[in-house]
Structure formats: C-alpha cells, structure tokens
Symmetry: C2
Subunit: 713 residues, 2 copies
Amino acid sequence: MDKRFQSSKERISAHKQTTSNHMEKATIIFQPSGSRGTISKGKTVLEAAQELGENIESLCGGKGTCGKCRILISEGNYPKYGIDSRQNNLSDWQKTEAKFINNKQRTEGFRLACCTSIKGDVLAFVPEESRAAKQVVSKRLRPVTVPYDPIIEKYHLIMKPPSANGSQGDLERLLDALGIQYGLNLGCDIDSLYPCDIEVLRDLPLRLREQNWHVTVSVWMDREIIRILPGKVLDSFGIAVDVGTTTVVASLVHLNSMQILDTQYIMNPQIKYGEDVISRINYLVHNKDGLAQMSADIIDALNRMIEALLSSTWPDYNNSPDTTEEFNYITVQKQRTKTEGKFLCLIPGDIEDVTIVGNTIMHHIFLKLDPRYLARAPFPPVVQKSLNIKARNLGLNICPSAYVHILPNEAGFVGADNVAVLTAEAPYKSDQIQLIIDIGTNGELVLGNKERLLSTSCATGPAFEGAEITFGMRAAPGAIERIAIDPETHEVVYKVVGHDAWSNYVKPGVLQVRGICGSGIMDVLAELYHSGIINKSGAFLQDQASSRFRINSDTKYKEFVIAWAKETAIGRDITITQKDVRQIQLAKAAIYTGCKLLMREWGTDRVDIIKIAGGFGLHVDPVKTLIMGMIPDCDPHQIISIGNAAGVGALVTLLNREKRSESDWVAQMVEYVDLASLQGFKDEFVNALHIPHKKDSFPHLRSILPPEILNQK
Amino acid sequence: MDKRFQSSKERISAHKQTTSNHMEKATIIFQPSGSRGTISKGKTVLEAAQELGENIESLCGGKGTCGKCRILISEGNYPKYGIDSRQNNLSDWQKTEAKFINNKQRTEGFRLACCTSIKGDVLAFVPEESRAAKQVVSKRLRPVTVPYDPIIEKYHLIMKPPSANGSQGDLERLLDALGIQYGLNLGCDIDSLYPCDIEVLRDLPLRLREQNWHVTVSVWMDREIIRILPGKVLDSFGIAVDVGTTTVVASLVHLNSMQILDTQYIMNPQIKYGEDVISRINYLVHNKDGLAQMSADIIDALNRMIEALLSSTWPDYNNSPDTTEEFNYITVQKQRTKTEGKFLCLIPGDIEDVTIVGNTIMHHIFLKLDPRYLARAPFPPVVQKSLNIKARNLGLNICPSAYVHILPNEAGFVGADNVAVLTAEAPYKSDQIQLIIDIGTNGELVLGNKERLLSTSCATGPAFEGAEITFGMRAAPGAIERIAIDPETHEVVYKVVGHDAWSNYVKPGVLQVRGICGSGIMDVLAELYHSGIINKSGAFLQDQASSRFRINSDTKYKEFVIAWAKETAIGRDITITQKDVRQIQLAKAAIYTGCKLLMREWGTDRVDIIKIAGGFGLHVDPVKTLIMGMIPDCDPHQIISIGNAAGVGALVTLLNREKRSESDWVAQMVEYVDLASLQGFKDEFVNALHIPHKKDSFPHLRSILPPEILNQK
C-alpha cells in the first residue's frame, strides 16, 4: 500500500511490525570467507552457514556427534563490519560441545556450529579443518565389454502419405511402416496399451507432414515410440547414473557406439542433511517436507549434471579440455563428443534413456519413496522390483517421454547399487567362488558362483569415510590417501589427494595436509601393525622406535603422529589415536565377520577370488586389506580392486537389454542373509577385531608378513 | 516504483505511457444486460462480449456466415453511463453484413458483432434473438443390460507384517498377498513393467502400517494397482463422458451395482470458438495457442462436471432434489447416491475410471492432438486406437493414478462416438441388417450385421442444429421442437422446449417463442409436404389454404409463418422460408444418399431395422423422417429412436471389460466408405433432394401418405 494513503495510526503500526521483524533477525559474518547475511534468530550457526553457502564440515549432519564443525567466535565491536559480536549473542554452552572442545579452547571462543543457536550479531571464524572442501572424486568406471543389444532402437521410416481413401490414422500408418520395413509389430495386439507416448502422438501429425512422411522414431524396448525425429537420425544417447550417499556420478553415453562421451562427478547435495544415510532418514523423519526436499535436491543435482554433460557436446564448452584422461584401468581419449569432426550439440530431448543405481536409501529418496522403514527392523524396502518411470513424471530434464530405469533392490540393506555390481561382475556366470566387497558408507558383500549367491550388508560405520576418526576427512585436497611406515625407524611417508609425489619427495608445507581420508585410513592399520607399532589386538606397543608415538597431554590418549604440524595447513600434528585404531578395527571386523559368516552359510572355507569395489576401491592396496584382517585369506594375486563397479552396472544396463534382464533376475536370485540373526555372530566379531582374525589361519599371509609379527600372541 | 523517488522526467514519461495505454482502450456497454468493461481497441464487438461474459449468439464462431450476432448500436452522449457512443467508433461497414442486415436496419444502427471492431466507446443493444440462451439438453442415456465384468476390481488384503528376515519389499509382500488370497499374479513376469503406479508406491509404506497391513487395493484391468485404501472398501466409482460438439454429458456410476448415480449436462465450452467443428478447427489454425486453449476448456469443463457429480453424493447437496426423473425410456428413482441410508460423500480420488467418447474432432481436441488434418483431404485422424492415459497427465481431477480410457476412432469422419454407438447397439451380433443413423453436427451412418459393417459420414451441414435456418436456434427455452400442420386449414400447432403443452392449449405469448430448434426443423419438412404446402421438389405450391404463406417484402423470399409475432418473445413472425426448405432438403438428402450408397456397397436393397440416434434423437418422429425422405423405406414399426447411444456406449465400456474389447475390435472391423468417391453420388444426391427420393419406391409410405401427395409429380 502506498504510504501516502495510510493514516498516521496505520503507519505507526506498520513501522512497529517492521521493527519487530527486524528484531527477529541477526547479522552473521563468516571469516575468512567474508560470507555475510541476516539470519532468523534461533537458527544454529551451522544452519546459518548452509543458508549463506558457507561450507562448514559436518559429517553427522548437525547431530553434535562428529565434532567437525568447530568455529571460533570473535568478541568485540567491529565497526568495519557494522556489528557488535558477542559470545553472549549465542545460546548457552552445551555438554555435547565439551566432548570436542577443551576448556582452553572454550575460553578462546571455540564452539560447535551445530550446537549453537544465534541470539544476536556474530563474527565467526571457520578454522581450516572445519572447512568442507570440494571433494576430489575417485569413482571411475572400468571398461566393460557388452554385446550390442540396445534398449532404445531407432527406425528410419519412409512412409507413403495418406491416399484418397485415407481413413487410416497417422499413428496406424506409422506402425504399419514399422511392421513392413522392419518387421516390428508394435501394439498390433488390441491389448497392447502403450504403442506411443501421448506427447509423441501430439507431435506426430505436424512432424510427419513437415518432413514429408520421412522420419525416424525411437522405440523403447520394442514396446513404445518415445520420440519422433526428422529424416534419418540414427544416433541415440543415454546417461548412466550412480547415486552414491556421498558422490553422484553420471556418464553420457553414445548408445550406438557404446562410447562414454563425458562423465560428471558431484557431491550428493543431500550431504547437507547428514553424511550418512541414517542422518538423512532422521532428517526426513523430523522434517515435514524433508523427503520432498531431499528428493528435489537430487533431481536438481541430476539436472545440473545432465546440463553439464550436454554442454560438453557443444563447441563453446571450455570446462573440459581435450585431454587424455586415465579412465580406470584403461586410458581413453576424451572425445569432447565430436563425431566425424562435428560437435554433437546435444539437447535434453536427445537423452532417451537413463539408468539409475544407488543403495536402497538413495533409491528411495530419488523416487520420493519413504525410506524410514529401512531404518527399523526388519528393514523392508518399499519395493524391490526394477521400475521404469517416465522422465516427465520424475522431473528429469531429458526427453520427457523417455523412461528412467531404476535398477531393482535385493533387500532393505542391499540395494540397486549392489545389483549393479553383480550385473557388472556377473559372478552368477562363474564357476569360481567369488567374494565381492563393496565398501561405501555401508559394506555390502556378495559370495558365490553360478550355483548360488548370498548377499549381506554389514554396518561398517562411517570410519572408512573419515567420520569418527580424529583427523578423518573426505577425499578432498589435503587429505592423506596413502600411508607407508618404515618398520625399522617408524618414519612415515604419505601421499596426499591432488599430488602425485609422496611426502618424502616434496618440501614440507607444500602438501598442505588437512587430515586423512578413507583410503589412508585403510592403509594405516596394516602399516601400524606391519611395522610393529601396534600389536595383534590393536594396542600400541610399549617399545616404540620414534618420537611419533606419544601420549596426548590434553586427551591422555596414546597417539601416533602421521604428519607434523609444520607439514599441515591446520598448524597441528595430524595423529592416529588409540581411539581411532579401535574405530578402524570395528569397521574392518564388521566386514571380516560378514565375509566369514557368508562363507559358512554358503558352505565353503575358501574363496577363489576377492573383488573390492567402492568409491575408494581404486586406491585400496589389496594386500593391506589382507594384512589388516578385513578380508579372508586368499591368494594376493586374486585380490583385485574393481573400482566403482556399481557405476559400471549402471552403464551395462544402459547399453544392453540382456544385462537389464539379468539385473532383474539376479536381484531375485540372490539370497539375503541377515548377519545379526546368525549363530556365532558375536564371537566371530570379537575375534575379528584382531589384526588379523584371532583364530583363523592365513596361509597366504606367511609370504607377506614377517614371522615375528604374524606369530605374536 | 514509488512515485516519490521518480525524477520529474521519469514521472512525465510514466504518465505518458499510462495515457497512451488508456488511449488503446475503449468502454463498451451491452444492453439490456448492462455488462460493461474496458476493451482493447481493435477487438470485435463479439470478442468484447465473450470477454465480458455477454452471451451473443454466434453459430459460425465469428466468421460472418450465420448472421446470428446482430446488435444495435446507440448513437449519442450517455452521461448516465459516462460514455459518448458513436457509430463512427466502430470499424467500417462490410459487405458481409449486408447479407444479414438490410438498408433500413443499417440506418437504424444494426451491425454484426463479429464483423465490427471497436475504435471508441460504444453502447450496444443485444436484441432478444441475438442472445445466446442457456441450452436445454435433451441427451439422455438409455437403459442397458451388460453382464458384470468390471475394469476396476478391488481386493481386500489381510497381510502379514514383515517378519524377522524381512528383506521383502512392501510392494512384493502386497503382490504375494494378491496372489495367495485371490490368485491374481500382477507383475510376476519380470517383463511386466507396471504392477503399481508410482504414486501408490509412494503412499504404500505408510498406508500399510497405519492400517496394520489390512488394506484394499484397486486393480485396473488385472494389470496395475492404481489405489490403496484403508481396511475393506469394495465400492468403486467411474464416470462415463460423451463429449459432443454442442453438449457434454457425464454420468457418475457405481461400478459394483452398475447404477447411474447422477448425470450432468453442460454446453461444450468450445462453442465460443464456433458452433461447428470446422469453425473450431479454423480457430486453432489461426490462433497460436488455440488448441491448448480449447483443450484446457474441455478439461476445465469436465472437472467442473466431476465436481458437480461428486457434490451430488454429499448430504448438503441441494441442487439436485430427490425427484423421480424420466430417464430416457425408463423411469429411475434418482438416488442422491445414498447407499443403505448413508451418503457416499465421494471425493475426486474415489473416481477410478473414466471413459470418453466423442467425434474425432472432439476426441483430438480433448487429447490436445492437432485436428487440422481432419479438415483436409484425405482427412486422416492422428490416431485410431483406443488410448489409456493417466488422469494426472490429462489434468482430470480424479484419482491421479487412474486411467482415462478414450474409445477408438474408426476413421477421420467417424469417431469414437460412432464406435460407442456400435458398442451400445452391437449390430455386429445381429442377423438383421441394421441401419444406424447418428445425427449430431455431422451425420454418421453404419449399415450391416454380424457378417459385415460399413460406416460413412455425411456432411449434413448445420441445418439440423439450427444454423443457416432463418429462425434456427439451439434447443433452448423458447425453441419450437415439434410442429404439426393441419392438411386442410394449414393451421400450425407447435410445442416449445420447456413446456409440455402444445401451442393450441396455451394462451398466446406464454410460450415466449424465439425460434425453431433441430427437432422442429426435422418435423417441418414432412409437415409442409404432408399438408400439401410444398411439393415433392420442395417448392411452395401456388394453391395455399392460409394467410401463413406469403412473400416477404424485404427479402422477396416465399415463406410460411410458423408462429405469429404476438406469440413470440422477439416481436417478429417466425417463418420457414423457401431458402430454409432448401437447406433442410440438402441436409436430409445428404443422409438419404449416404444410406442408399451404403446399401448399394453392402449389397442390399432393404434394411430390417433403422435406428436413429443423436442428441435430439428422442424428439424425432421416426415416421416423419420417412415422409421427408431422409431414410430409406422401412416398416415404420422398425424405425426407432435410440437417443444418445454414444453416451450409452461410454457407459457400457465403463462397466464391462468385454464391451471395451468389443469397441477396440469393432473400430477395426468396420469398413469406412468414402461417399464422395463412389460412382453415382451426385445423381443420387440430386434425386434425394426430393421429398421423398425421386426414383425410389416407398411401399411403406403408402400406408401413411395420401395418394395425391405421394403420386404428385
């Protein structure tokens, strides 16, 4: 309302309202980034950060359990910023915070961003280690060989225009031409309900006539026409998507040549609701529109990825230079999606097929299916079957009539990602007994051969993803990803994400170390044990060769320094503590127990081959997984890393119709084993905490480990 | 922008813009309704009327061919209304107008609203005969007998909750229960893609648990779960819709008892784009969003009808009193949808099935399929097959997962409405040779028996709908619907829509006659001929018994007065002119020619039974159709009116699965005959203009017509 027409009473009332609105807000400034904004009072600093796009690390999703979101509150008047920052402007100190912030730090002004709500203006400093860095993603697809057996087929039709007695419908004329030219009889059966998508039908009359009855149609699964194109266009394109809890990978594929044109990686945007799946389920249980929000987040993210994939086919696309890139085990020439010297210049409508894989929770959230019952015994999924859903009904910005194929789930804990791994590796065709271990946020195991396949899921906890480890972090720049310890001197060398050289070949400080990521955490246990720093049960030995071993004066924990403060970006020693060792032991013991119990259920005491899959699968040293006692005994040459096999599964089911049937079949064929219900689970688990397992014999380890280590009590 | 912050320059510029915007508008006031509004200059008065909701009759859709939209422009300053109305404020006089407005009327200020665009303020008077009245709809459904064979079936399930080893998905558990309890195996086949709608799947986990695994599911065609309901709910409801060019009829049906609960009739809102289908095609050809607009109009209208149908099941519904209503030939007790003393209180989600019938143009517009090629030789439809489309993809406000079933088209001119008529009448099961004549805006004919069926469409033109007839109008209050002429005195009695008594039992003026509607037009030719007013060739005889026959002093046409000015609401004599007689002859000759040529193609010179269907079918006197020579000779007892058989077809395909298959089958089985391509069409047509046909013998007529009439040359 124009203020000139308000009475003075009305003006005052309006002013009061504005003022009181203003009273409900506070200014928050984050340093060193300088992000600044006005936030509703009562929100936590973490929520404020998320609102302002400030990246604060939070592995637990704001539950106060990871302690990663430490911030430093400045006290004082800052005329430069126009605010008066007071520690009193925040909610009271909480007991939870004391678990991660000692008294000295408390006095300095440290708080946990997730436990602290805003009462007034605040200037907050985000320390280096609390900053969530852009993740470096190491998920890569392996080359695969699949026969040409496409889901989408294109048919070039030269039709006769309607003649004098032209009572025939345009669609019927087109279907006739398909039958005559290609022997494809779509919807000849009266009962066939879907010969043509309604939107294609709406397009049909104009397209046929403007192209003089000379068109190409895309047919999905020999069932339905999903697109009509002018003249002769035989190239088809699809996208294979692996929705990981942490990382989402999408590959644009030329379906005819089965060539990958470009791959995009992003962090799953749902990370803001929590790192692990349980945090995310909690979020949606406690937030009314949580599921819709999270589902929209992943759909939006996929749409951005699709846009980026399409951009890579346009000549003005500069983000992806023409480089040679290591593509898992093989090296492929990145195509910039030129074909015969021409850029493809793809548009959303050109994407005619998408396959989606993911664990059950990611699967459910993507489809907006309530995943809450996956977190409650007996953990049933909403659906196991594979689904085909029209892109327009999901909001994916591709050809609206195209189907998005979502791979089936095996069981509540073993999702479409595992089905994808199986479809890629096809143990069901093998005589050898294969053990496939897929380590993501959960550990998923499959054991068997063409006779029988068993699967299970084991709760590794988030240790392998960096959570609950003192200096754990995601695989981002500055993260230690490989560790080697000299058995004599106990000196440490390491490799950092983003750098090719090991630390002993680099000047101190160059690597800007910030923490240890999953694959580094996988290395460290084997190295500590192998070099005699910890014993078989994971305890630090008294007799240590270096000053790296010490007792932390604050925490009183025993710890071992991996990187000295001067080598880091955070100005503190990066250590592995006794508590960290225990966490890693718990995680690896969960996997070992799963393997052993599956073997018992299957009825074998040996496996022929062990395949380790997962986002960090490429970095894992198979022999170290054997040393640390994460996997059962096996010929080291038969322990192989298979990288992101789930992504490969998404790819093969995009390319090959038989593989798509196989994935439906294998999801039903695999028998799910509930570990916790098995006899002897606890005993096995307790023994598996040892490095390696207390009672099992590891004949192959004898060739690797020195006898004094292996034979220690 | 707040004007206080504008510079004086900005203010002036803004003011100029406002002023110039104002200059582009004019005020128009319609009398006697008083509708008033500001209209962009350049629009026609007819467009202005449509914008302001003023009902001006326009049968041709604004093409200047029907002359129904005459208005009277007032000249002068009207301080009361604040306008200066000038005839100069309208665009120049056009030649088209002269066809309908004589010089005297022109001087008085008469114009055609569709030919006159607005240049300035105008006060327009809309004469009674130019006012489009609310139509009285006479389409009614006939009772039908179909076995119980439902499309939607409900299954009450008592499921076991997931047990300890609960790896099974909720959907799989439900499908298992369906199999065990009812032997229904949905989607057991891996290839079965649609066992459950995605939105039902989204609802599934919560519904199953809150109902303690005790639910009912609705299954469509033994294929797909489209709804989940709490506990045991076995009632299903559907709606059968007949989308006519003029009238839309929708019936709410209790599928279990096959009882019609309520029927709603409305005028097709697309009438604003033109009365006949060709006007509508022209509209969408010349208006960019025409198709989308027209499609949205009919969807909106259906949603309003659905709302009204649902309202009728609520206790506070007062629009439809508990009355006994004539329901075609039988009398049904209107149910107010109470069952066992309780109101059903239906909501949109309760409507789980809809069938739609309509001619090809209505079919296409409903589905947003471009119908323009239906108006161009060789007139192919976009699709012939029946379609099943999810309600949510069409925007129909029923159960969003339900399918809307659209019946198939036979050919470009013979649409789903004719398929519906055939499915209702099932001549394909009969030994008798049946001739089915469906007279809507077009005439559709089917001839045959279980051996062979031929169909055709004949261009009757809009005469039977009141267009191109001087005093023709829709079946609205004031329309003459029956006419009888005394052969001796040539005195006329008539019956008017909305009144039960014939005119000779009513005081003059009470009936407020305004024109003659279709069924009156069908009567008049037979009566004029039978009473010796016109001869066999349709010419007025010289020897007339009454002063009703005259030569119009203005038009110079011979005419016959049906109603004197004093009996009318328009203050003018309502006549049938020589030109009108010719129009009716053209229309009936088109049908007769179609019948004869179909009979020749089929190879028969007689038919056993003639069924006359159509919106006005109930009113038509079968014997008069024989007298006027619209139908071939037939035993008068075997000429029957079957009313709105298309609506009956929509109903039977809603109720019965076998009937739905039959409709698919019959659409393919009927052979379409293109009349114009047949030899002798012209000769037959010319002879058919006679009353009755010049060369054919009508043995049955001899018992009806006096020999002096029948034997006249």
